[in-house]
Amino acid sequence: MSIAKASGVAGFPLHEHFERPEQQVDASKLGMWLFLATEVLIFGGLFVAYAVYHYLHPELFKAAHKFLDVRLGAFNTVVLLFSSLTVVLAIHGAQQGKKQMVLWNLFLTIVCAGTFLVVKYFEYSHKFHSGLLPGYYFTNATVPSPDEAHIFFGIYFLMTGLHGIHVVIGMIVLSWLMFRAYRDEFNPQYYSPLEIGGLYWHLVDIIWIFLFPLLYLIR
């Protein structure tokens, strides 16, 4: 592995309170993993709500999920999986000092995130249109046992909504990383912001990996 000269833009920007570059990288990664743990637990609350109400009303969940479009859900799953791949490829590019590879892959990731949100917009607008709204605003009369069905849609909107917010935050983070990559801040010795942003984006993907079968594929 060729090490770039520690001068000019290349090299590792070490903060004063760290002794070694590895220490700084490890600290930021550990911090990110701890933060991911908090993210998992934030969604965890919604998974608890899901588990409890699925347990209480299994028939209802089975009936209500048919109002969600499996094809759109599956499409979005593939989009997010692909975006996870492009993030990894961007990091790979940074490891080898290929700036164009970093920029293009980050760009593709942001496009995927945008696509995901557009599809989500169509799904949401269809539900708004047919009155499949949470709680008090639920007005669809064709769902079996409409007295309770709003709970499923409440949980659906909460889970996908919170996930959607994370996608938007992810897009902001990725754009910022792209900006930094454009300014040549990353090199084969220093790319930990990309790794950390990538960890966040993968988590968003993982959450969706669980949401998809739980919401769209109930039997």
């Binding site: 908090t38 709680g135 008090y136």
Partner: protein, 527 residues
């Protein structure tokens, strides 16, 4: 490297040098100031509440105002004082020093979490403009979704403050893992660090659940989703599960740092190596883990199933084990040590007495059938005040008095420090011990009015609260006076053996150590 005579307090001047500082010591002091401000505010509310209870019926306020005041007292004391309390102020100041680090791992995140705290505090106070909340600090559904007032704002404030807590905990865990000085192995870390580390685990693992709970509460109130609201098919008991999944561990966010401080105080002021280092260290971790398994003991009479109630009751007894391990190890440390009754030690001894009472009454409450009688009475109020104030806050004051010379370079008046510590202990017992008695006789908590037979208890309690309040104010004034008139502190006034005493200047320089300390022995090797 700093010139001689320069330290972290005088190396830079001006408002911006404080407001934008990345120095963990300055951030710690900023936290300390803010927390003390809210402590005084919350304490003022407590005194107003006690004054109202001097006589049955209307004394100085009406019932609605009373409900709002006890909510404010609870919310401020919990979210703005005790939860950030020791970790954010003393932890920020002392933890990197004790580890031999130049700063915490993420200094900017540290400053950010301070401003998140400030923002949360502003939003919390902002809820007063919309209309004070009267739900109690627990925001139980379905009342919190139907009552008027600024519930959404107050809940948002708690939500924001949660993130401040998460970032603080995250910072400390990473600092402990990655920034220890050469030679500082895990078992050479002071027990204070172990306690703060265990607290960090809870802050990371429990606080997010508070965030989602409060988010759901806001959604429930605004959009009426029906997850917690029984009218819409939801389950209000589920809200209590959500709430206590955070808020029981949060109790340990409050008490673990207190225990951490006490471990330091007991060892230093006995000048004896701490007895049972590893049991104390691991009991902190054990408490952190156990704290996630017992939340249902807050819900014995809520409509939770009896089966789950029994399981939670049994698990609750387990908590007494690590707490007991700590108490006995501290006692054994003092045994045959050269105990000096300096002011910090007096606070620590006060902690011993009060926390023992608070802890043991906790076991009473953990017993399923006893709790049916005692639930929601003043017995519970007395119990958690013994733990939170008698435990955590005594330790907090002890810690402030212990590190004050290092923070400010000034020595305070031993006489006034000791006098205020004694006054607090006396006032505290006067206020809260009678509450055990009236609670056991059935006086319900959070009631504006009461039967005539409880009048004498309430009056004793109110008088006690004035003594208690005076004691705390005296303690703070003693510290403030020392800033002006105090003698210059020596480098190591208590003959401590951890790095913050042995390897820094009397007041540390901005980068903490003039040269990187290398650790060769444990933190309790006194000579």
């Amino acid at each position: 490297m700093s010139a001689p005579g320069k330290n972290y307090l005088n190396c830079k001047k001006g408002f911006a040098s404080w407001a934008l500082t990345l120095d963990h010591k300055r951030i710690g002091l900023m936290y300390l100031g803010s927390i003390m401000f809210f402590f005084l505010l919350g304490g003022l509310f407590a005194l107003l509440l006690r004054t109202e209870l001097l006589s049955p019926g209307h004394t100085i306020m009406d019932a609605k105002r009373y409900n709002q005041l006890f909510t404010l007292h609870g919310a401020i004391m919990v979210f703005l004082v005790i939860i950030p309390g020791i970790p954010a102020s003393l932890g920020n100041f002392a933890l990197p020093l004790m580890l031999g680090a130049k700063d915490v791992a993420f200094p900017r995140l540290n400053l950010l979490s301070y401003y998140i705290y400030v923002l949360g505090a502003i939003v919390a106070l902002g809820s007063l403009i919309v209309g004070a909340v009267d739900t109690g600090w627990t925001f139980y559904m379905p009342y919190s979704s139907t009552t008027d007032g600024g519930v959404v704002l107050m809940v948002t404030a708690a939500f924001i403050l949660g993130f401040s807590s998460i970032f603080t905990g995250l910072n400390f865990i990473v600092t402990t893992h990655k920034l220890r000085a050469p030679g500082m192995s895990w078992y050479r870390m002071p027990l204070f660090v172990w306690g703060i580390y265990a607290t960090g685990i809870i802050q990371i693992m429990a606080t997010p659940v508070l965030a989602i709970t409060l988010l759901l509460l806001i959604v429930e109130r605004v959009v009426k989703v029906g997850i917690f609201d029984p009218v819409l098919g939801g389950d209000p008991v589920l809200f209590q599960h959500f709430f206590w999944f955070y808020s029981h561990p949060a109790v340990y966010i409050m008490i673990l740092p207190g225990m951490a401080v006490i471990s330091e105080l007991i060892a230093v002021f006995s000048q004896k190596r701490i007895f049972g280092y590893k049991p104390i260290a691991y009991s902190s971790i054990a408490l952190a883990v156990l704290s996630f398994l017992v939340w249902g003991h807050h819900m014995f009479v809520s409509g939770q199933s009896e089966l789950v109630g029994m399981i939670f009751s049994v698990l609750t007894f387990l908590v007494a084990v690590p707490s007991g391990v700590k108490m006995f190890n501290w006692l054994a440390t003092m045994h045959q040590g050269s105990v000096s009754l300096k002011t910090p030690m007096l606070w620590a001894l006060g902690f011993f007495v009060l926390f023992a009472i608070g802890g043991i009454t906790g076991v009473f409450l953990g017993v399923l059938n006893v709790d049916v009688h005692l639930h929601d009475t003043y017995f519970v109020v007395a119990h958690f005040h013994y733990v939170m104030v008698g435990g955590t806050f005594m330790a907090f004051m002890g810690g402030i008095y212990y590190w004050w010379p290092k923070m400010t370079g000034k020595m305070y008046s031993e006489f006034w420090g000791a006098a205020s510590a004694i006054m607090v202990v006396v006032g505290f017992n006067l206020t809260f011990f009678v509450q055990f008695l009236m609670g056991a006789q059935g006086m319900p908590r959070r009631y504006y009015n009461y039967l005539d037979q409880f009048t004498i208890y309430h009056q004793i309690s109110t008088v006690g609260s004035y003594v208690l309040g005076l004691g705390f104010v005296m303690a703070l004034i003693t510290l403030l006076v020392s800033l002006k008139n105090g003698k210059t502190a020596p480098k190591n006034p208590w003959h401590g053996a951890s790095l913050e005493w042995t390897h820094t200047d009397a007041v540390p320089i901005e980068t903490n150590f003039r040269e990187q300390p290398v650790v060769t022995e444990g933190p309790y090797e006194y000579r």
